[in-house]
């Protein structure tokens, strides 16, 4: 794998080049679309629709809350969805060219990470400009993101491998992710849920404590509670192991099926 680092990094770079190839503004688009997203979430939701979080007096509170959840959720699903289809998309290359197969999910993870890093930086810049910068607790984002992306890659590789043999997996995941999104307190605060659903979600949805953590860090600057993340860590490592096992066992047969 190490010998092929040039290929992996080169592929990530090329993915960016391809995206803006032939456009006049080029790389500027990388910044324009996240800025407009932040604008929509913060200005439109907070100012135009006057959405407020219960118990928060800050007028921009809901917009910041929304950004913290939506951007990180987007990062999660981007990696998951790309891993889900990457083997099918690269079928021709897999069949005809010898290179380490594991570089494909790695390329997906890295290029999504670059995307997310740009969005995150712009969002932090916005917080800084509106003097809402959360302070040292921000560092706690990193381990949470690590858990989240381990889960995304593990699930993605596991399901992506199965998707080669049963294309139904890909179709099903589209629906599952819809439900998952709405069953995670991203656009709404958990406090509006009935108690029994809330406890169900908090104990069984590994994304719920992660998203809640981001929202809490960004809104209040408070450190997240490590004990909340036992379940996500277990699920993340479990899916990583399962994904690895499935990939190792089926990557050979996968080429025959493509």
């Amino acid at each position: 794998m190490w010998t092929y680092r040039g290929f992996v990094l080169g592929s990530v770079k090329r993915e960016f080049q391809v995206r803006y190839l032939g456009s006049l503004l080029g790389a500027a688009w990388t910044f324009i679309s996240p800025i407009s997203l932040i604008f929509v979430y913060v200005v439109v939701f907070s100012q135009v629709m006057r959405a407020r979080l219960p118990g928060v007096t800050d007028t921009l509170g809901y917009g910041v809350f929304l950004c913290a959840g939506v951007f990180t959720w987007g990062y999660f699903t981007e990696v998951l969805n790309r891993c889900l289809t990457i083997f099918l998309e690269q079928a021709n290359m897999l069949k005809k060219s010898p290179f380490p197969r594991s570089s494909l999910p790695l390329i997906a993870l890295l290029s999504s990470t670059v995307n997310f890093a740009i969005v995150a930086c712009l969002f932090l810049l916005f917080l800084l400009l509106t003097s809402r910068f959360p302070g040292p607790a921000l560092i706690a984002m990193l381990p949470l993101l690590l858990i989240q992306q381990a889960m995304a890659v593990g699930l993605g590789v596991l399901l992506g491998t199965l998707n080669v043999f049963f294309r139904d997996v890909g179709q099903l995941m589209g629906i599952v992710l819809q439900f998952w999104f709405w069953l995670t307190p991203i656009v709404y605060p958990p406090s509006i849920l009935p108690e029994w659903i809330r406890s169900l979600i908090e104990s069984w949805n590994p994304m719920a404590p992660l998203i809640a953590g981001y929202q809490q860090i960004v809104l209040t600057g408070r450190w997240p509670e490590p004990t909340d993340y036992v379940v996500p860590v277990i699920i993340a490592s479990g899916s990583l192991i399962l994904g690895y096992l499935a990939f190792r066992r089926l990557s050979g047969e996968m080429v025959d099926e493509l």
Binding site: T3, G6, F7, S11, R14, N92, M93, P98, E253, V255
Partner: protein, 412 residues
């Protein structure tokens, strides 16, 4: 270094009648077998020593491509093992993963990265790639603007930028114009001289004989024959000729569709007159004909009724359909004898076969009552494609064209 060891290699593809069958099998953990096994390769064992060159030949579907895919590592074998020591370069699918919107140079860098070359080496070999591909100023144009020949040239240059320990070549890919093809062959030969192990897959026995010491013939996923290149290629050619002429021998009336000398009406009658019992043998010095060999063509036919002046003719057409030679016992001034019903007549034409190597068609004709400059009263049989035969590269190779004039040279 640079040795290939293949042991008892087998590849099985699974055919599932329905998609549900796969699910049932997966859920049962493999206890319920719902697939039909299909072995495309089985029990293949051979090894290629350092610096050795081995050619693999076989008909379509013999398992050649599967073997190559396993050797290069894109496909995993079902059983057996493959060991390739050293860096392997494969010229199978050139330009895989090249992006149409990037320039030739960007794609060249990517191609090198895909081969796992370190960054320092890539910048070192890049000028050589640009130079060898002869793309000059086009190297900084988008790949999609290239002609297919230019794309191939770039891909070949990238794939062979660094001398590999093992080179695997599928000769089916033709690279660019004749001049560039020659350049590619030279580069491959140069690698051979420097100790690269070569594994060449080709449909052309001649190419293999020229490039390789050893040959392997694959048939139905097994090694049919293995040995020195010449004898394996002769065997392959002989088996191919057998396969090609079998149907036409059984059903000579199929010559219906072939263009006829006389009217169509007559031809239908003719097949009956000759009883259809026509055979042709091409006899060379060995079991295959090499350019320059002395060759005899014997044509034998049985007549169903009485003829006064029967004649037998032959012709040779090349791949392009051009008649290289055509004559018969009448035009050659031979006397024949009258035949009665059931009688056979055979004519043998012997000549030094100075034609260039390649595939040829044997034209066979039988007619009665010659007159004028090679005309006949009755055409009895005529088939422009009676059988196919192959002429292999001969001893004297210092000429080009379709016919060896064997000129005497005087330099003054």
């Amino acid at each position: 270094m640079s040795r290939i060891v293949v042991q008892n290699l087998g590849k099985k593809y699974k055919h599932y009648p329905t998609r549900w069958g796969r699910l049932v099998e997966a859920l049962s953990g493999g206890h319920l077998v719902r697939h039909r096994p299909h072995w495309v390769l089985r029990g293949v064992t051979f090894d290629v020593g350092p610096g050795e060159s081995v050619g693999i030949i076989g008909l379509n579907g013999a398992g050649k491509s599967t073997l190559l895919k396993i050797l290069t590592g894109t496909t995993v074998p079902t059983e057996g093992s493959v060991q390739c020591e050293g860096r392997v370069a494969a010229l199978l699918e050139l330009g895989m993963g090249f992006h149409p919107d990037f320039t030739g140079r960007q794609n060249a860098v990517m191609g090198c990265q895909m081969m796992g070359l370190p960054r320092s080496l890539i910048s070192e070999v890049l000028p050589g790639i640009v130079d060898f591909s002869e793309l000059d100023a086009y190297i900084d144009e988008p790949y999609r603007t290239y002609s297919s020949g230019m794309q191939m040239r770039l891909a070949f240059s990238v794939a062979t930028a660094v001398r590999p320990d093992i080179l695997i070549v599928d000769e089916a890919l033709s690279v660019g114009d004749i001049f560039f093809q020659h350049k590619c062959m030279q580069r491959i030969r140069h690698f051979q001289e420097q100790g690269t192990t070569l594994l060449l897959v080709s449909h052309s026995p001649d190419t293999i004989r020229m490039m390789c010491q050893r040959g392997i013939m694959l048939a139905n996923g097994k090694i049919e024959r293995m040995g020195d290149a010449t004898s394996v290629m002769d065997y392959y050619r002989a088996s191919e000729v057998l396969r090609m002429d079998a149907p036409s021998m059984e059903q000579p009336e199929l010559t219906d569709s072939a263009p006829l000398l006389d009217t169509r009406e007559r031809k239908v009658v003719l097949a009956n007159r000759t009883s259809g019992a026509i055979s042709a043998d091409i006899i060379g010095d060995t079991n295959s004909i090499h350019s320059g060999d002395r060759v005899s063509i014997r044509i034998t036919t049985t007549f169903s009724r009485h003829y006064n002046d029967p004649h037998i003719g032959f012709g040779i057409r090349n791949k392009m359909g051009i008649t290289v030679y055509e004559a018969n016992t009448y035009t050659l001034g031979d006397k024949t004898r009258p035949v009665s019903p059931g009688e056979s007549l055979s004519a043998t034409f012997s000549f030094p076969c100075r034609l260039s190597p390649g595939t040829y068609e044997l034209v066979v004709g039988v007619a009665d009552g010659g007159y004028g400059f090679g005309s006949f009263e009755h055409s009895l049989f005529f088939d422009q494609s009676f059988m196919l035969f192959e002429i292999a590269v001969g001893k004297s190779s210092g000429w080009a064209g379709i016919y060896d004039l064997q000129p005497e040279v005087v330099v003054e």
